[in-house]
């Protein structure tokens, strides 16, 4: 890793003087602030609220599915529930929380910049989210869109027109927000790094955001194109996707998946980055294979752009083309596997602190591996044709999206909460949160693999009674999951108000964001930021002399102030 850059001691003194943090008055969070830290927290809280709403919708879906033929909701409402549930989870929680919230909060701090490249654009990107989300939910009042989050025609052009149109509008708004964010991240990472910080000295989160932002920029506009055409079909009588009028519904699928396959990497890459930054801190070891992880993000991003049609194996794609997409998809397992093995090698033999952040980090790795394995299974054409549109797909996507993205976001919340608020979180509540989430999640989604293999179709409100018991188990799991959010909410609110004060660097971490006060002052660093070590030089030696020193001392960087929570 990078060596000592500027060992001038007067600068060091200045950095040490920043213990007084910048507390932001609460009103600031409800205003058009251009401070990236305020915007990051606005994103986080706002998307978390949408997550709770999406979770409530999921609970309603599972309640309907608790018994084979319950009348909890009407069939139309059921379609609306799972459609809006999925849309909220993807466009209002995972995508904006991974990129918008953590990207905004962390990138400038990690690269020693005072703010994002375009602070006002940043605020605009955030302020598109609440109206976009409220618009989406308002579609319940006119008969919600019920064609699933993929909105395939002809289903989407023959159902609830008003609800579907609102769905299109809100996704366009949220997509615009995402693109504006992507432009900002790319410019910030490529142009705003502090002097002396090369790309290879950045924390891995920044690499991951670079890859994710490139994907946003290239793929999201194509979705916008598809939705514009769909809107014309819906309201202007055109027939782009209607074979009766000379159109072709498969064109929609191609355009949709050209976005939505990369979108899964837009969702997971920031999480990969966060995990790569969290594991070394709490295992007290340098990251294993920095460059392998950094470049595999770029490889994933590139490969992610050329495999979209694996979602369309059953859409009449010709055989030779299916082979191409199948092989290309399986190749993505290589860079992904590189990351997983690097994480394992990082924690292997480390002095692990099993706090809440680390628990969720390790939970992420294990759950994501299960999702990744079922992903390789469905990448093979014959198997996919067998389980297409069954609960096996639902199980797979939740292992990657919930077991992957949500576990990762939770880990990020526990890890960076002290930095964001200047307060420590309660470890007992954190661990309770982890245990409930882990049990609820696996109870809810593991049995769905079985359901899918047995042939239970997805997106149905009624099913064969032979699936009754397993479905009931899933529903109980979903209730545990719903309950599991309470310890987190209580913990966050209570700790923010009255938690123990956090020092600038409570975890003894080495990335730049921990070298300023918690929470950081308005322009992040008082004076010029100074890099004292590479981001992962745990146990690598004294940062001033470059001479290796004993593990015990090496783990205590000079700047640490507060207690080490283990």
């Amino acid at each position: 890793m990078a060596q000592v850059t500027e060992p001038e001691t007067d600068n060091l003194g200045e950095t040490l003087a920043v213990e007084a943090g910048g507390h932001t008055p609460w009103r600031e969070y409800f205003s058009f602030s251009t401070d990236h830290k305020v915007i990051g927290i606005q994103y986080l809280v706002c998307t978390f609220i949408f997550y709770l709403i999406g979770g409530a919708l999921a609970t309603a879906v599972r309640t309907e599915l608790a018994t084979p033929d319950s009348d909890f909701v009407s069939r139309e409402l059921y379609n609306g529930l799972f459609t809006i549930h999925a849309t909220v989870m993807i466009f209002l929680w995972i995508v904006p929380a991974g990129t918008g919230a953590f990207g905004n909060y962390l990138i400038p701090l990690m690269i020693g910049a005072r703010d994002m490249a375009f602070p006002r654009l940043n605020a605009i990107a955030f302020w598109l989210i609440p109206p976009g989300g409220i618009l989406l939910l308002s579609s319940f009042f006119v008969g919600a869109a019920g064609a699933g989050w993929t909105s395939y025609p002809p289903l989407s052009t023959t159902g609830e027109k008003a609800g579907e149109f609102i769905w299109i509008l809100s996704v366009l708004i949220l997509g615009t927000s995402s693109i504006l964010g992507g432009i900002n991240f790319l410019t910030t990472i490529l142009k705003m790094r502090m002097p002396g910080m090369g790309l290879n000295d950045m924390p891995l989160f920044c690499w991951a955001m670079l890859a994710a932002s490139a994907l946003i920029l290239i793929s999201t506009p194509v979705l916008a194109g598809a939705l514009i055409l769909l809107a014309f079909d819906l309201i202007a009588g055109t027939a782009f996707f209607n074979p009766m009028g000379g159109g072709d519904p498969v064109v929609y699928q191609h355009m949709f998946w050209f976005y939505s396959h990369p979108a899964v990497y837009i969702m997971i890459l920031p999480i990969f980055g966060m995990i790569s930054d969290i594991l070394p801190v709490h295992a007290r070891k340098p990251i294993f294979g920095y460059q392998a992880i950094a470049y595999s993000s770029m490889a994933i991003s590139f490969l992610g752009l050329i495999v979209w049609a694996h979602h369309m194996f059953t859409s009449g794609t010709p055989g030779w083309l299916r082979m191409f997409f199948m092989v290309a998809t399986m190749i993505i397992a290589v860079p992904t596997g590189i990351k997983v093995f690097s994480w394992l090698a990082t924690v292997w033999g480390g002095k692990i602190r099993l706090n809440s952040a680390m628990l969720f980090g390790l939970g992420f790795v294990s759950m994501f591996v299960i999702g990744g394995l079922s992903g390789i299974m469905i990448a093979s054409v014959p198997f996919d044709i067998h389980v297409h549109d069954t609960y096996f797909i639902v199980a797979h996507l939740h292992y990657v999206l919930f077991g992957g993205s949500v576990f990762g976001l939770y880990a990020g919340i526990y890890h960076w909460f002290p930095k964001m608020t200047g307060r420590m979180m309660n470890e007992f509540l954190g661990k309770l949160h982890f245990v409930l989430t882990f049990i609820g999640f696996n109870l809810c989604f593991l049995p769905m693999h079985y359901l899918g293999l047995q042939g239970m179709p997805r997106r149905v409100a009624e099913y064969d009674p032979k699936f009754a018991t397993v479905n009931l188990i899933c529903t109980v799991g979903s209730y545990i999951l719903a309950v599991s959010t309470f310890p987190l909410i209580i913990n966050a609110v209570w700790s923010w108000i009255g938690g123990a004060k956090a020092s600038g660097n409570p975890w003894d971490a080495l990335t730049m964001e921990w070298q300023t006060a918690s929470p950081p002052p308005v322009e992040n660093f008082i004076g010029e930021p100074v890099r004292l070590t590479g981001p992962y030089d745990y146990g690598m030696g004294d940062r001033n002399s470059g001479i290796p020193m004993p593990e015990s001392q090496a783990n205590t960087p000079m700047l640490s102030g507060g207690p080490t929570v283990s």
């Binding site: 992507g182 502090m194 055109t238 000379g246």
Partner: protein, 207 residues
Amino acid sequence: MQGTIDTSNAAIQAEHGAGTHGGHHGDHPDHRIFGIIMFLVAESMIFLGLFAAYLTFRSVTPDWPPEGTPEMELLLPGVNTIILISSSFVMNRGNAAIKKNDVKGLRFWFGLTALMGAVFLVGQLYEYFHTGFGLADNIFTSTFYVLTGFHGLHVTFGLLLILAVLWKSLKAGHYSSESHFGPEAAELYWHFVDVVWIVLFTILYLF
């Protein structure tokens, strides 16, 4: 990773000028131009998606344009194309002028560009009323209106950018050889709209 520091350090120093606080220039013109280019990458992807859709519709439809579609006139869109392409060169004169501190020149050339853009739009509207087919007649007419219409929207937006630059140039000293990000960004955008039109014109009318 050892050793990366020195080279990257040098690169960054060169980029920001040694000794300056690199990385902290909130509105460094360089960054803003980079941002505009990223924005245009995103814009290109919308058009690429729509073009790909157009070409697919075309390749799966037995006769193109479908039977019964009135013959397309080439004269008006051809003239329009020439006007739009020339306007890019006209606009370029404007930026050359401001780089020499010639605000009058900037106003003249940008004003001329705006005029040419407006003529293009009027021409397009005229064409719309004389094609003899409607939006929802068949798959060809639908793609025709949506593609040219979406491009027209971009021309309109570009026109607004140019007008904004003209408006700001009325304030003495707003643009100078030192500070001309606005005109430069408007020009980049205009060239982009132009290039998109060339592709559009080729696949829609010629090919």
